[in-house]
């Protein structure tokens, strides 16, 4: 699936619309879901104009399918995450409802971001299934399932077992796993507190709206003070309503943090793959060593280690030299196979390490760049909020001065 010269570098992808649909699900029950329009444009070299080449509708579950496929076929790649399935880290005003238009809008942006990440990845962008995702509306699901990727996926249990039992994982990956865990914990904490901060800030701004009303009422009984009070009250109303836009902008920052929160899972997936491979390697090496041992014992007749054969020999009598020869031959074959296996596993392991680490370095640079940009845009948002605050209060002050 990766041998495809198709490069998406000169392609523009956008998730331009979201639409509510009803349909029947697998159990023939009616359901409501949102479909997203994906438009692909190719950019003409000469004049930079883009031409619409493909346009199709996909729902969230299809994105999930694509991603799961990529995870299986590219275990050495830090696969970009999808936007959250359900709204989390919400502050009270935001809806946690998946059908809420604001949530749908933010998800649309998140899905677009996902596609852009994949298409700008040097390896992932060449994948055929990804290409088909963008171009083949019908039958795509069947095509993906035909790859049989679900079968190729490592079982969770196997992976967990490996994580506990592996003896010599690469230190870099151990460190990376710790880093991922810490980063996940910190960003979760940060998002939770940020949501509370947003809640409180909302409260502060909105209460000021009450000044608008009372100043207006008060101005009715005043002569000289009346106008000043009334117009100041208007500015208090402006102040109170300004918080809605401010906090909406901040959600974009939260989404950027969330992307990297979900990225930690992708990092951990790569680490897990390494642990699994390393464990398999260690098991293969161990198996080989024990077979060699057995062989040696049979050949020299010494029993150094416990073996079932040794036990049965004691119980039922020695075996014949022919039987012994036969067994030695089998073992020697197995050892030879084992050595080949170990060699290829070793090679596989080293390849994996090399490729995975290269992608991880790429990821780190991307992360540092993106998070810095996110912090800058956050600071810019704060600056804008401060300037608005100064403006409103300066206006109010001028009104008060005319009292």
């Amino acid at each position: 699936m990766t041998e495809n010269n198709f490069s998406l570098k000169k392609i523009e992808i956008s998730v331009s619309e979201a639409e509510k649909r009803t349909g029947r699900n697998a159990m023939n029950m009616q359901e409501t879901y949102t479909a997203y329009l994906i438009e692909t444009r190719s950019v003409e070299n000469i004049d930079g104009q883009s031409v619409l080449t493909d346009s199709l509708w996909r729902r969230y579950s299809e994105f999930e399918l694509l991603r799961n496929y990529l995870l299986v076929y590219y275990p050495h790649i830090v696969v970009p995450p999808l936007p959250e399935k359900r709204a989390e880290f919400v502050w009270h005003k935001l809806s946690a409802d998946n059908m809420d238009p604001d949530f749908v809008e933010r998800r649309r942006i998140g899905l677009e971001n996902f596609l852009l990440r994949v298409s700008s990845h040097p390896i992932l962008c060449r994948d055929k299934i990804f290409y088909l995702f963008l171009t083949q509306e019908g039958n795509w699901k069947e095509t993906v399932n035909e790859t049989g990727f679900q079968l190729k996926a490592d079982s969770r249990l196997k992976a967990l077992n490996a994580t506990f039992r592996v003896k010599n994982p690469d230190k870099r990956f151990t460190d990376l796993k710790h880093y991922s865990d810490e980063l996940q914990s910190i960003i979760s904490h940060l998002l939770r507190v940020r949501a509370r901060v947003a809640d409180r800030l909302y409260g502060v701004y909105k209460v000021h709206g009450n000044y608008g009303r009372v100043f207006s009422e008060w101005s009715a009984i005043e002569k000289e003070m009346g106008d000043g009070l009334q117009s100041a009250g208007h500015h208090m109303d402006v102040y109170a309503s300004s918080i809605d836009d401010i906090l909406e902008d901040e959600e974009h920052y939260a989404d950027q943090l969330k992307e990297y929160l979900f990225y930690t899972e992708a990092l951990r997936a790569v680490c897990r793959k390494h642990e699994l491979m390393q464990y398999d390697l260690e098991m293969a090496a161990q198996d080989l060593a024990s077979k060699k041992q057995q062989c040696e014992e049979l050949a020299t007749g010494t029993v150094r280690t416990f073996s079932l054969k040794g036990m049965t020999t004691k119980l039922f009598g020695q075996e014949t030299p022919e039987q012994r020869e036969a067994r030695i031959k089998v073992l020697e074959e197995q050892i030879s196979e084992g050595e080949q296996y170990l060699k290829s596993k070793n090679l596989e392991g080293r390849e994996f390490l090399k490729n995975a680490w290269a992608d991880i370095e790429r990821f780190k640079e991307q992360k540092n760049h993106d998070l810095k940009e996110a912090l800058i845009s956050y600071a810019v948002m704060q600056i804008s909020m401060c300037k608005k605050g100064i403006q409103v209060w300066t206006n109010a002050k001028e009104c008060f001065s005319k009292m």
Binding site: D175, L190, V193, V204, W218, A379, W393, M403
Partner: protein
């Protein structure tokens, strides 16, 4: 609010004096005023009116012309309007320097009252005494008794729930000091109250307790008579202007109450916001310890949020200490004003009742008995004093609220300016490109 630190005592205010010809032209005052020595007929008239209400301790007349200081003080008295700029004022009072006194029976705070005046009633040009809240309370009661036709400014609240507020904390004492200072300044600004005997004693006596015990009850003629007004008369009809004042005060107090609640709510929300911010900032710091290239940017954001938190704390402190107390003072003020209005109603009611009684006794119709005339006199005085005080009060109220609300706006502007500065200053830090050395370091994550 009347002008801050006491000014120099020579001929006050260049502007208004220069404009007015000096009625008692002397050689020294000529320099101060500008040389024209023809007395203005207006000044002479107002001078006689002023006499009626003034009682001077040394029994002298206002026209002591021996020194330029006293001539200008005469002029001040003759000017009935409050000079807001304080340029023709001759009495300056400041409350400062709170000190804690620990005695066996109790612990309390005293404040230093500094008085500077060129008035003849004061033997010395300057006085410095120490007073405690009790003394202020005594003064206010005496003023209410002796000048019942006038609006007496309020004192800060007397009772403090122990355990809830620490009445010896710096913030509480400072808030109270400001309120007491305001109280005295309002009184010394008042053309009638500032000449009250009790005030003079309050400002000058070494030991106020001795004076209190003597129970000197020097009441004005009006005060004395109003004191004996009996209640129980029903008012026929309130003159429109006083009815209007009553309605105004009702709505005014209501609106102030609402504003007080809103302000308190805002402070409460801001404090809760502050609590969250104080948790928010440090998370960036923890994160920065985990990173390599992002260490400084994240640390910078953490510090920035810390600065904003501090600025917010300053805002809430300021609002609590400077904004809320003034609001509450005005609510107290309007309450005490309402009781003066009630008293006025009683005086009018008594007069109306007596007048009606006379009308019924047909024999006395041509001649109006003396006591009914006294009642009428009393009522008209009250009405005039109250009207004048209301006007003054409205003007001062406008000034005070203008200043209060501008102050509130200012504090918010300052808060946002501090935050703006913090965020603007980290932008260059965030945009900084790591140099080559740093870059090679951060390719490996810091080891755990």
């Amino acid at each position: 609010m009347s002008g801050g630190p006491p000014k120099a005592l020579q001929s006050t205010g260049p502007h208004s004096l220069r404009d007015m010809p000096h009625p008692l032209a002397g050689s020294s005052s000529e320099e101060a005023v500008g040389g024209d020595s023809t007395p203005s007929p207006d000044l002479l008239m107002t001078r006689s009116f002023g006499d009626k209400d003034l009682i001077l301790p040394n029994g002298g007349t206002p026209a002591d012309t021996s020194s330029p200081a006293s001539s200008s003080s005469l002029l001040n008295r003759l000017q009935l309007d409050d000079d807001i700029d304080g340029e023709t004022r001759d009495l300056f009072v400041t409350v400062d320097d709170p000190k804690k006194h620990v005695c066996t029976m109790e612990t309390y705070i005293t404040y230093r009252i500094t008085t500077k005046s060129t008035r003849v009633e004061f033997d010395l040009p300057e006085y410095s005494v120490r007073r405690r809240y009790q003394d202020f309370d005594w003064l206010r009661n005496k003023l209410e008794e002796s000048q019942p036709t006038h609006l007496i400014p309020p004192l800060p609240e007397k009772f403090v729930v122990k355990g809830v507020v620490d009445r010896f904390s710096e913030e509480f004492v400072e808030t109270r000091r400001k309120a007491l200072d305001k109280f005295l300044k309002r009184i010394t600004d008042h053309p009638v109250l500032s000449f009250n005997e009790h005030l003079s004693v309050f400002l000058t006596a070494k030991d106020l307790n001795v004076y209190k015990k003597q129970g000197m009850a020097l009441l004005t003629r009006v005060g004395e008579s109003v004191k004996h007004v009996t209640g129980g008369y029903k008012l026929r009809s309130r003159p429109l202007e006083f009815a209007a004042i009553g309605e105004y005060l009702d709505t005014f107090a209501l609106k102030l109450g609402t504003i007080d609640r809103i302000a308190q709510r805002i402070i409460k929300e801001e404090i809760e916001y502050l609590v969250e911010l104080r948790e928010y900032g440090p998370v960036y710091s923890t994160w920065s310890a985990l990173e390599g290239e992002l260490t400084e940017p994240l640390e910078g954001v953490s510090a920035c949020i810390g600065n904003c938190s501090t600025a917010l704390e300053e805002l809430t402190d300021d609002m609590t200490e400077d904004f809320l107390p003034v609001l509450r003072e005005y609510i107290l003020y309007s309450d005490s004003m309402k009781s003066v209005l009630k008293k006025r109603d009683q005086v009018q009611a008594e007069y109306e009742a007596k007048l009606e009684a006379v009308a019924l006794r047909k024999e006395d119709r041509p001649k109006v008995p003396a006591d009914v005339e006294k009642c009428q006199d009393r009522m008209e005085c009250f009405n005039a004093d109250l009207k004048a005080d209301m006007e003054r009060w409205q003007n001062n109220k406008r000034q005070d609220f203008r200043q209060l609300l501008m102050g509130m706006a200012d504090k918010n502007i300052q808060y946002y300016e501090k935050c703006l500065m913090a965020w603007e200053s980290i932008i260059p830090l965030l945009q900084e490109k790591p140099d080559a050395k740093k870059k090679s370091q951060c390719l490996d994550e810091p080891s755990r």
